[in-house]
Structure formats: structure tokens, C-alpha cells
């Protein structure tokens, strides 16, 4: 009998230990959850502000020809509606091993090229393109196609000479360039 009582007491004690342990575990889990939740909302895991990006794609060579896609991502103000690559004598586009006389530019996603100049200064170019329909928040806006004249052709855009306008008729002042292989929209 005493042994049975001892066992019951032991079991009750063990249950009590388990119950205490469970409550402690639950409290710890709740505390961890609250800490995670509060610190998340305190900004430790805030998503960094995404600047608008002008993405210059790689030069894709197909035989004697090639092309470059120019795209945008996360453009503010309703999206990109106009873009100017410098001016004549202050061109924003610099290229090498590309025949300037063969450069053709196709607007994408509603963009139309209003004016371009790739002849005045050798190896440099400028153009203006607009989208009268809507702003483009993310996607391809221009395709440059050309004949390649040498190995490893290059196509570079100087950010400081590029001007962007948004669909809300405001200049986009804060933006960045990217040469990453992928972007999201």
C-alpha cells in the first residue's frame, strides 16, 4: 500500500513536473513569439526602401548582330513615362565594337522614340523616348539592335546624364542603375 501510495505520489509529482514544464515551455514560446513579432514590427526586418532602377541588359550577340534590352523596375509616381539619354555633345550612351549606322531602336510597352543621334560623336549616342499611354513600373522599355564589328562589344549608360520622368508628370530624382541578370515586376 505504501508503495502504491508512493507510486501515486510519484506519478502526481511527475505530472506536476510535466505540467510545470509545459507551462514554462508555453510561456517561453509565447515570449519568443512576442519578441519576434515586436522586433519585426520595430523594423529589424524592415524591407529596405526599393528605389526605381534602370536596368541595362547584357549585350546579346547572335552571329554578326546583337541587341541590348533596357528595362525598368520599381519606378515610382505611376511608372516611367519619359527617358532622355543625355544630349548631343553630352551623350549618355557609350558603345564600342558596334556599327553606329546600323543601330535601330524599338520602343517596348508603349514607349516611342522621339529623337535619336548616334552619328555626331563616334562611339556615343543620345535619344529621347516617351510613353503617351501610361507609366511603366516594371518591364522592358527599349530594345537596341545593331551589327557587331568586333569581339566583346560594349554598351554603357552613364547614370548622371540620364533623365527620367514619371507618369505623374514629375522628375524621378532618386533612382539607380543595375546590371543584374534578373529583376522582378
Amino acid at each position: 500500500m505504501d508503495g502504491e501510495l508512493d507510486m501515486i505520489c510519484y506519478h502526481k509529482g511527475r505530472k506536476g513536473v510535466i505540467a510545470v514544464r509545459s507551462r514554462r515551455m508555453a510561456a517561453i514560446a509565447l515570449a519568443v513569439g512576442m519578441i519576434l513579432g515586436l522586433t519585426a514590427c520595430m523594423g529589424f526586418w524592415n524591407t529596405p526602401i526599393q528605389l526605381g532602377n534602370l536596368i541595362i541588359g547584357p549585350v546579346v550577340v547572335t552571329g554578326a548582330g546583337g541587341y541590348v534590352l533596357v528595362s525598368v523596375a520599381d519606378m515610382p509616381g505611376g511608372g516611367l513615362a519619359s527617358i532622355q539619354f543625355g544630349t548631343v555633345a553630352n551623350e549618355a550612351i557609350v558603345f564600342a565594337n558596334i556599327d553606329a549606322s546600323t543601330i535601330t531602336i524599338e520602343g517596348k510597352n508603349g514607349f516611342v522614340v522621339l529623337a535619336q543621334d548616334f552619328a555626331t560623336v563616334a562611339g556615343k549616342g543620345t535619344l529621347i523616348a516617351v510613353n503617351a499611354a501610361t507609366g511603366v513600373v516594371g518591364g522592358t522599355i527599349l530594345k537596341f539592335a545593331f551589327t557587331v564589328t568586333g569581339a566583346n562589344p560594349t554598351f554603357t549608360v552613364y547614370k548622371t546624364k540620364v533623365t527620367l520622368g514619371s507618369d505623374s508628370n514629375a522628375m524621378i530624382a532618386a533612382w539607380d542603375t543595375s546590371s543584374l541578370d534578373y529583376y522582378t515586376k
Binding site: L36, A40, G43, T47, V60, Y182, Y183
Partner: protein, 430 residues
């Protein structure tokens, strides 16, 4: 001795693997297409080269799919997908790689779902690599959906990820070099798995003259973000006119938008594309709506006409766009339909910039030895062209089935400048 054991292990594993492959159903298809410009210079001769290889393997209720996409610039996408059920659980996993770029791994997604007593539970996880602009990112989302009487309630708890629904678009990953893209349901928006948002949507309510009321509440770490009330098809007693009402509360702003909709009878022969015009400015979200000081209905605009008739496998279709400033005809890849230009741009649909009319003839028939033969001819007309009837471009596509598993295709596009491009293709399936 160790080497012998290793070699034996490799051989046995390979044999077991091959046995499983042979014993399980292996399906797939390979599609390849080459187009060229007969009138172009040497540098412009090759227009495109595309190849798509899809392999499906099903075993024990799970299907694994491998999709490999090649273009002229190289091996663009390698995608793996696994879907299936494990007891009461539905499972889906996706992985995306970019073999032609320096960083190969791009994205991964896992979705688990289960239905218990009428309650749908879904767990979403996604990870985006730093090869993508804006990455690295990873996050979870938990979705609960159920009905209380006629009311349907959906709760989404965002722990660093958003899930595609009426308010969010999921994630679309674009390859900058080719413009090709892949879309998935789960968009990871924050590194780590902290709480980032909570959205609750209740729909299916009916009240008085309103058929469907939906309300959405969205909270973020910053607190209240928005509360929307959507009332659809408000009947004002006019059989030909209804309104949709969107009422949005934000922290310091409340907006009300009314969208009038014409209710037309079923077309007997000619489809009339009509809309209610308001004095609101043209944009993606506000065109044809009444809000703020733009509170006038200015008229009814007919922006297009259409005709379509099918018989004995032949379909004749005609589309005319009357308002070319705002509407356009999408290309054949996007269904050759009349779509608002701003919507086409937002959805990534190619459209015919200069053409206002389309005449299409499509013939579909059975192949002699299985499969399907198909012929399509789309002719586009332009107001400004000097050619007969303002003809602008004709696109012809033909597909001939050799048998039920192999088909050959050809394409031709001709414009006022001559032959724009020619193409040949092959599709093999097993």
C-alpha cells in the same frame, strides 16, 4: 576494397533509378522554332531560335516536371516543379535556375494545403536569391479560408511574404537579357520571417439592391494600412446601367470610386464593345470612373466592333477598333482580342500598334494519322496605309500533324515592306 564498394553502390543506384524511370510513366514534349528575315542583312538574318523541353514524371501520386527553355542567347531557364498529395495534404514545390548567368539559383517556393471541416489551410514559403534585383529575400504566409453561412472569409498572415490574390500580383521574375519571365504565387518581401502584414477579406454579403459586398482589412507593422468596401453590380433601377462602388479608408485619406457599367443584351451577330464615358482622366485605375471632382457621365462610347462565326472547324473573326487612342488588338500570342492599351501594357500583352482592323480565318482539323492540323491567317489593316483597303500586315501560321506525337509548323509574316520573317518549327511529344 572501398573503391569496389563505391563502384558497386553507384551501379546499383543507377540500375534502381533506371528501373524506376522505366516503370513509372514519363511524359514530355519538345518544341523548337526558328525564324529568320529573308530580306534582312547578314547580321539581321536570324530573328529568333527558341526551344522548350518539358518532362513529366509521375509516381505514387506525385508529378515532377522539368522545364528547360533555350533561346539564341543560351540556356535561359531551368525550372523544376513537384505537385501531389500526401494523405489529406496537397503539396507543391517550385525551383527556378538560370543556367546561363553567373549566379544559377534564382527562386524557390513551397506550398502546403489541407482542408479540414470546411476550413482551407495553406502555408506558403518562398526564397529569392541575390541574383535578382531587390533580393535576397525569404518569407512565409499563412492562409485560412472558410465560410460562415453565405459569407466567405479569407485570412492571410504575412511573415515576410505576400500571396497572389485580388490585391497582390505574386512575383514575376524577368531575365534582363532576353525579357523572358516566370511568375509564381508567393512573393518574399523581407529578409527573415518577422510579421509584415495581416489581411482579412469577407465577401458574399448581399444587402438590398447590392448583389455582392466584399470588405478587406489590411494591417502592417506600421499599423492600419487600408480598409476597402467593394459593392458590385448596384442596381439603380435601370436595366442597362449598373454601378460598382469602391470605398477605401486609409490612415488620412478616404476615397470613393463609382464605376458605371453598361449592361448589353446578348449579341445576335455583331459584338458591340461599349463603355460608359466619364470626365475622369485616362489612367490605369481611374479611366471610366467617377471620383473626386470627376463626377460626370459624359456619354456612351462604342470603342469596337467584332464578329465571329464557326462552322465545320472553320472560324472567321473580324475585329474593328474605333477608338485607337485607347484600345488596340493584341497579337495572336495573346488571343487577338480588343484590349485597352494601358491594360495590355500592365499585363505584358503585345499589341498591334498601328492596326485598327483584323480579319482572321482559322481552320482546325484532324490529322491523317492522329494529332491536329491547324491553319491560321490574320490580316491587319491600317488607316494610314496606301495599299488596297489599307492592308498592313498578314500573318500566316500552319501546323501539320505527322502523327499523334510529332507535328511540324511554319510561320510567315508579310507587310508592305515585303516578307518580314519566315519560321519553321517542330513539336514532339511522348
Amino acid at each position: 576494397m572501398t573503391k569496389r564498394i563505391l563502384v558497386a553502390t553507384v551501379v546499383i543506384t543507377t540500375l534502381v533509378g533506371l528501373t524506376l524511370v522505366v516503370s513509372g510513366p514519363l511524359l514530355g514534349s519538345w518544341t523548337s522554332e526558328f525564324t529568320f528575315r529573308p530580306n534582312g542583312s547578314f547580321a539581321e538574318f536570324i530573328r529568333s531560335l527558341e526551344s522548350l523541353l518539358v518532362i513529366d514524371y509521375t509516381m505514387n501520386g506525385f508529378t515532377t516536371t522539368s522545364t528547360s527553355e533555350f533561346q539564341l542567347l543560351g540556356y535561359v531557364w531551368q525550372e523544376f516543379e513537384a505537385t501531389g498529395t500526401l494523405g489529406a495534404f496537397g503539396l507543391q514545390a517550385n525551383m527556378l535556375f538560370g543556367p546561363s548567368t553567373e549566379k544559377k539559383y534564382i527562386y524557390a517556393q513551397f506550398i502546403g494545403s489541407v482542408s479540414i471541416a470546411g476550413l482551407d489551410f495553406g502555408l506558403y514559403f518562398a526564397q529569392l536569391s541575390d541574383a535578382v534585383l531587390g533580393g535576397a529575400a525569404d518569407g512565409f504566409a499563412i492562409r485560412l479560408a472558410g465560410s460562415i453561412g453565405m459569407v466567405h472569409v479569407v485570412s492571410i498572415t504575412e511573415l515576410g511574404a505576400k500571396v497572389r490574390d485580388d490585391d497582390f500580383d505574386g512575383i514575376t521574375i524577368v531575365h534582363a537579357g532576353s525579357g523572358l519571365e516566370r511568375s509564381y504565387l508567393t512573393d518574399p518581401v523581407a529578409v527573415g520571417q518577422g510579421f509584415t502584414g495581416q489581411k482579412v477579406t469577407a465577401s458574399g454579403l448581399s444587402f438590398g439592391c447590392v448583389d455582392d459586398i466584399a470588405t478587406t482589412l489590411y494591417l502592417t507593422c506600421a499599423g492600419f494600412d487600408f480598409l476597402t468596401l467593394e459593392l458590385e453590380t448596384i442596381d439603380i433601377g435601370l436595366s442597362w446601367l449598373t454601378f460598382d462602388l469602391d470605398l477605401t479608408f486609409q490612415t488620412t485619406v478616404k476615397t470613393i470610386e463609382l464605376t458605371p457599367t453598361l449592361v448589353l443584351a446578348d449579341a445576335l451577330c455583331i459584338d458591340v464593345y461599349a463603355e460608359v464615358l466619364t470626365n475622369a482622366p485616362i489612367s490605369t485605375s481611374t479611366t471610366n470612373t467617377i471620383f473626386d471632382t470627376y463626377n460626370s457621365i459624359t456619354g456612351i462610347g462604342i470603342y469596337g466592333l467584332g464578329f465571329s462565326y464557326s462552322w465545320n472547324g472553320v472560324t472567321v473573326k473580324e475585329l474593328t477598333v474605333l477608338n485607337t487612342a485607347r484600345y488596340a488588338i493584341t497579337t495572336h500570342e495573346y488571343g487577338s482580342v480588343i484590349e485597352e492599351i494601358v491594360e495590355a501594357i500592365e499585363n505584358g500583352h503585345d499589341y498591334c500598334v498601328n492596326y485598327w482592323e483584323l480579319l482572321s480565318i482559322e481552320v482546325v482539323g484532324d490529322g491523317c494519322c492522329g494529332g491536329t492540323n491547324r491553319f491560321l491567317a490574320n490580316t491587319y489593316f491600317n488607316r494610314d496605309e496606301s495599299a488596297l483597303f489599307g492592308w498592313g500586315t498578314t500573318y500566316i501560321e500552319g501546323e501539320v500533324a505527322i502523327n499523334s506525337t510529332i507535328s511540324l509548323s511554319t510561320q510567315l509574316e508579310v507587310s508592305t515592306d515585303g516578307a518580314d520573317y519566315l519560321g519553321i518549327g517542330v513539336e514532339v511529344s511522348w
